[in-house]
Subunit: 483 residues, 4 copies
């Protein structure tokens, strides 16, 4: 059954124009004037945009002995409700566990997804098995490999392992991702604050200052440069990390930075709230920063030194957060955001003039699709592309509240924020999952999206690195005497 989105204005990363969109068999069949279809979706007064892609989520993630509460069902339902039509989750092997094993676990969990999804492969330890299975993972359609520079004793890998893995990623034509915080220093600062009796959620922020993030970002950039591979830095929260990225880019290095909607709109004062629950619910890594850091992130999006906006959606309930009463290091790290990313960014970005509409589409969808090498199947309003579409009503308003959300958790870090700009319809591969406020998701509708290696930036960088590689000096009669 075909559908036609009628009367709207198409907004993409570089175009604004009036046209209807005909959807058939999960794809965009035609874009044009006066199109007809079996079902009409009235887009009058709306912008028809590529559905959002969130490149950074953790559904049902095992962490510190518990699981994040949103699973692939509720999580993707929350996503669709807010206009996001694809998520990329992280397949996380336990130390010692094989990559294929981990992928299998994530395959199992993701069968319930309401929208399309993909996985980043986490490299949480190093060994011959990991080295070998990275190739298998690539063949299964994973071209991104995540590395944790923090979470010492758990997920963290050291510089040696980073460099080995980055070199392997380069061979495979993939892109390394890093969670950039100096895990050694964080671990020591945690103990220092705890030992001083500083055990509340605010000490979580104290133990992960911007300097610690900036340092790790800078280090990862150097290691990627030595390996000759592009780099993607997740959840860039502060000027220090952003500065490292800008410095790299101005030297021609290929580095992308991903701020989160939370860091763009919430600040460190949340941790100083007198209500322990309030503060603990905002505990994530990196923590929220001050207004100067927020300005830095917004400016990065406008100027292109930062490329995409994500959420790191990893939702723990208040009960789970309370594991950390009396010891902030036991508060599960993570906040929600998947449902609110698009309206929050629209309201605080497009609504204020910090971003154009095209830039909004770029950072929520198109840039991500390009970096992940799935453009234009995803991230585009083009004939032949997947019909992952959001029909955005710029006049629709609401006040965010946990009471009315799709996410399974019992609070919302954006509680009380007023947003203007919300989906009228969200389509996932042609299926209308959100219909004018009504949720019509279908569990299991979502499919895994394979992502091929060797994107254009990888190829260009490899050419340049080969061209400028150091050359051996040819000598005869070594050693020769004389100075």
């Amino acid at each position: 059954m075909s559908k036609v989105i009628k009367g709207g204005t198409i907004v993409t990363a570089d175009l604004i124009y009036d046209a209807d969109v005909l959807v058939e068999n999960g794809r965009i069949a035609e874009i044009g004037k006066d199109l007809k279809g079996d079902e009409v979706l009235d887009a009058t007064g709306c912008y028809v945009m590529p559905g959002g892609i969130d490149p950074h989520t953790h559904m049902e993630m095992p962490f510190m002995g518990t699981y994040s509460t949103d699973d692939f069902e509720s999580g993707t339902r929350a996503a669709l409700s807010g206009g996001t039509t694809m998520v990329v989750d992280f397949a996380l092997p336990q130390p010692g566990q094989g990559l294929l094993d981990a992928i299998q676990m994530w395959d199992n969990k993701s069968t319930r997804a309401n929208c399309d999804y993909s996985f980043h492969m986490a490299i949480t330890w190093w060994g011959e098995q990991v080295f070998n299975e990275m190739k298998d993972a690539t063949e299964r359609g994973i071209n991104t490999f995540k590395h944790f520079m923090a979470y010492k004793g758990a997920l963290m890998v050291n510089d040696d392992e980073l460099f080995a893995s980055f070199q392997r990623v380069k061979e495979l034509g993939g892109i390394p991702l890093v969670h950039a915080e100096n895990g050694d220093v964080v671990a020591d600062l945690q103990q220092k604050y705890l030992s001083e009796g500083n055990n509340g959620p605010e000490a979580h922020a104290y133990s992960r200052p911007p300097e610690v993030e900036g340092e790790a970002a800078n280090r990862a950039i150097m290691i990627a440069d030595m390996a000759g591979v592009p780099l993607y830095i997740v959840h860039v929260s502060c000027e220090q990390a952003h500065e490292a990225i800008r410095r790299a880019r101005m030297q021609g290095k290929r580095v992308w930075g991903e701020p989160l909607i939370q860091h763009l709109t919430l600040d460190e004062s949340e941790y100083f709230d007198k209500d322990w629950d309030h503060a603990a619910r905002r505990v994530m890594s990196p923590p929220f920063r001050n207004k100067q850091h927020q300005d830095s992130l917004w400016n990065g999006l406008a100027s292109g030194s930062l490329s995409v906006v994500a959420t790191d959606h990893c939702a723990f309930t208040t009960d789970q957060k309370r594991y950390g009463v009396g010891d902030f290091t036991k508060i599960p790290n993570g906040t929600g955001g998947l449902e609110d990313r698009m309206p929050m960014l629209w309201t605080y970005g497009v609504g204020t003039g910090r971003l154009t509409m095209q830039e909004f589409v770029a950072v929520t969808s198109t840039n991500i699709a390009k970096i992940l090498n799935i453009y234009p199947r995803k991230g585009a309003i083009l004939e032949g592309a997947d019909a992952d579409i959001v029909v955005w009503d710029p006049a629709k308003e609401k006040t965010i509240s946990a009471k009315t959300q799709q996410s399974a958790i019992d609070y919302n870090v954006f509680e009380g924020k007023h947003v203007k700009g919300l989906p009228r319809f969200t389509l996932t591969r042609g299926k209308v999952a959100v219909h004018d406020g009504e949720i019509r998701t279908e569990e299991g509708h979502g499919e895994f999206v394979k992502r091929p290696p060797n994107g254009p930036v990888n190829k260009a960088l490899s050419t340049w690195k080969e061209l400028t590689a150091p050359r051996k000096v040819e000598r005869t009669g070594i050693p020769a005497s004389g100075v």
Copy 2:
């Protein structure tokens, strides 16, 4: 008569895919597989890309008592020969002359153009007439206003005038352009070197050091920021100006920088050539810089801190250059480049891996069209777009030489450079102007391209500036006593 470009790979600023292109009535009628048309252009093994746009040319320009040698006929013929399908020239009023008068003069000259063109309006003096006619110019389809911070006593305007004009441009929804060099300092340095007997072409470079350009760029950025208008800086030649642009962009300011293909590939050693003619032929402003500056420019293109590549094509013959024997200040400023911009950038950019193919299209065409607010009519391979297309053969090679060029001048600053990657066909609004090495241009085929004001960046910036404008403090009983 329709034409179909068959068997090629379409490369745009964000896509690479195999498809045929059907051209009818000067536009792209269809993109798809197995298209048919009256005439077939075989694109096998080629990239089908948006024709180049050169945003910075001077055809038949009056300068220092002479005219640049390439007029709209030979200039656009040279452009098409190298894959460029649109040029933007500068309508230059004499001091005291009205803007409409100047436009009329440029209208007259441009009737002979072989490809489409547009004009930037130069603001070379300030007064009520200029203020008023800026609106007329806007209504005629000119949304960019050029300001010279150098050429003291001729084209230069001072800060007062810059600020007044930038504010006017903001009202009109346009974009100011600047030639950024401190004209006061340049004029004094010229006299200093001349008086020291330093009268050769190398002293042209000495009198316009990078510091002088960087300063002016920085100043223009501040003035545009105060006026609340985006800014476009032409011929960014050095790290100092690029640094000012990066610094502005990292603060969220909307500034674009335009390096020239000459500065990207030629360096200051040209001026030290023992042959006076060799050196004088390379005299342009800003002058060529050293390798460090070149690296800075290339890195800016890759990272997005610089946006477009132009030529400032302004060709003077050797005879004209010799006006300046014994006094470098009398050497007409300008070099050619229009014919070689695309193959040189491809060879030194894409060929080395410094740029991806998509980035090549972006900086030679698409980004320019967007900034000039004529996208996607120009700069795109999309149905409905003007059929300004280059069919690029990556295997085609040549050695650049004045002997075989289209340009009317008697030398070529790239003489002897070997390029790989050249047009097989160039289409201007559907007409095949270059056919496999044969020039088939048609004098007068080119049309003026109107460019509307109020592009998306203008609108977003105005919103943000209004939102953050300083507010009056409300007081009562002024003055009140007490500290």
Copy 3:
């Protein structure tokens, strides 16, 4: 009659040690243990430091039709009361007035000074007379030449004049000073805000944003570099200007920056006070900035990118400030600070650990003396140096108040600030002007301090500039043919 300062700890820009100081005939006769003299000044528990030098004051300055209220008598009395033993004022010619005439006027005013003083020579217009009299001024002991880049229509000089003057200063072995704000833009912004009804003191700040200061600083640096002369930038108030200075210094340029104690400790919120008088009394140029700018300035002092702390003391009474009711552009620009500079900097700098004691001495006295080329006659505790000494009691406290101050004005911008660290004794050329809270100044005691040209930095810079000057390319048979 000799005096001995007994029992104190000498603190200089690089030393801390216990010793007595014998003062005879206005000079330091001996430093050592167990010295004897006719009069004993008990320095037990105190630091014996070089008296402060304020390189930036305006006594009885004509401005906007009035005179600043502190004259050389009350001003230097205030200075001594706060531990400052020398001031450098600005001899300001009216446009068209000769330099020697202006010096004569300042000579007349300064006969009443209680402590030593010197003059900077202001270059407020350009012409042959000015060019010639700059040499006379140098011979009279003035090696610093001040230039206003703001105050359009009054004191402001343009780039042409700046460059001419800087080159002249270079020849004379002097140092140019600049008040760095873009006067064209300020004048236009003033009119803009006034015309919008924004006529209160806060609009003074709005019309002089940090960008306008940073731009001018950057421009002055470039012009000084072209002239081959060091540069001193007065009242650096913001990160933008500081950034320009750091950027220059990192390129080996010889540039010094002078923050004011006001900008280090007061912020822009003062202008938002509901009391018009409160706000107007803080009107000075540049205006106060926000906390981020303050941090930048403090960090500059600690790291050495900023060199000295001054006051720009230019005190107008509340009645004078009220000239500007209804039109902020008529509020006389200037605030006091001379009396409070040393205790405020000690309290907020040394007291917090932002500065060491040695750095305190350096930035309040020694660095200034070196830059002004009067070290070690001033700025030192050395045998043979002038006995300009402050005996600093780190335990002495007070709350700053206009009620108890020496300055002639009726308020104090630091009103209510609590300081810890105050003079026990202040000696001006051996005379005890402050004796344990009692003022014993002597009108007319102060003498003019001649300052010779050609300091070491001038000489080194000239050597380097000569060594790296561009060289003429030797050619024969010009023009030769061929490319």
Copy 4:
């Protein structure tokens, strides 16, 4: 027997004046006019300066199975010959060896020293014994603790150990030093190049690119900031590390950088010499860099972002260097320089105008003495200071050659460099060790110089860190409900 240095001009870090210097009992007894003594040293036409201090030498150092060839006798003889009167060597424990043991070994070796010396304590492993003995080392007069971020598997410590050690150094009032290179990445690059057959000395440079140094410097700065301790970075060779230092300093962090005379004057082209010996003799870590890096270092000295000039003197003979034929990783790391540091810096710094004479004294002696907390006993020409004096003849010239040097090695990396400016006399604690070209050193004359902790910068920084430490949020009834 007293000595008087007559007729010279005293040059210190901040003064230039004519005076005689009387030396008695190893100290400066008097400075003044017309002094008399038993022996007269004619300083006519000369500058009398504090003897040089080299803060970075390795005498008779065990490395890769051999010992560096200059021991405390020949090394300090070379030092004195070039005007350096004190060296600071590194006491290096083997992994597992106690600190006191290592100090004992260095005590034994240093008994032969011809001039005064001190030790930095190297922290080459971490454990309770190290933690405890750091206090003992402090009590023995060592306030600086060196950490190697490179030499993996040998001297290198990881981030965890760095942070623990830096915190311990902070408690003790000392200063951590770092050799900043990412040892993990270096080790891997070494293997990579070797495995590619790139086994010559140039691959030593390839495996230690500037990025690797800059990263480690940046990391050490962050860790020191977290520990609240100042930081000293040895052998800063490149812009990347210098940039990290500048960035830290502009944020108020207390970081000092030490370039070497080799990096200031020699460049990477040395490694491309066709003569293997020539290249191998220049192998040191970090390796020589290109001209842009040199400019950066010189500018840092002039602007104060870099503080001192050292040598890392660690001399291996050609025979020792040849251990690495066929495998560059086996070439002993190190070059000489102790004898030539002062004349080379004078010639290329003061002689060119890049540095003033006062800056020369500061960076070769006074700044070092201040940082090491032995000023003014060392680094000063003041009454009471140790008579470590160089009488510098600015007219004396020579061409550097291994044939005429004091150092025990068989070559000189500065071979053939012409220097102008050499010692006429060098005095070590009053003893004339160099007398007009004649060497009169006395083995064993040198003494260990104790250096107390808690210098002024340490104290100020601790105050600031305490003042700005994060504070616990006081809460009641945790956890409270509600968001």
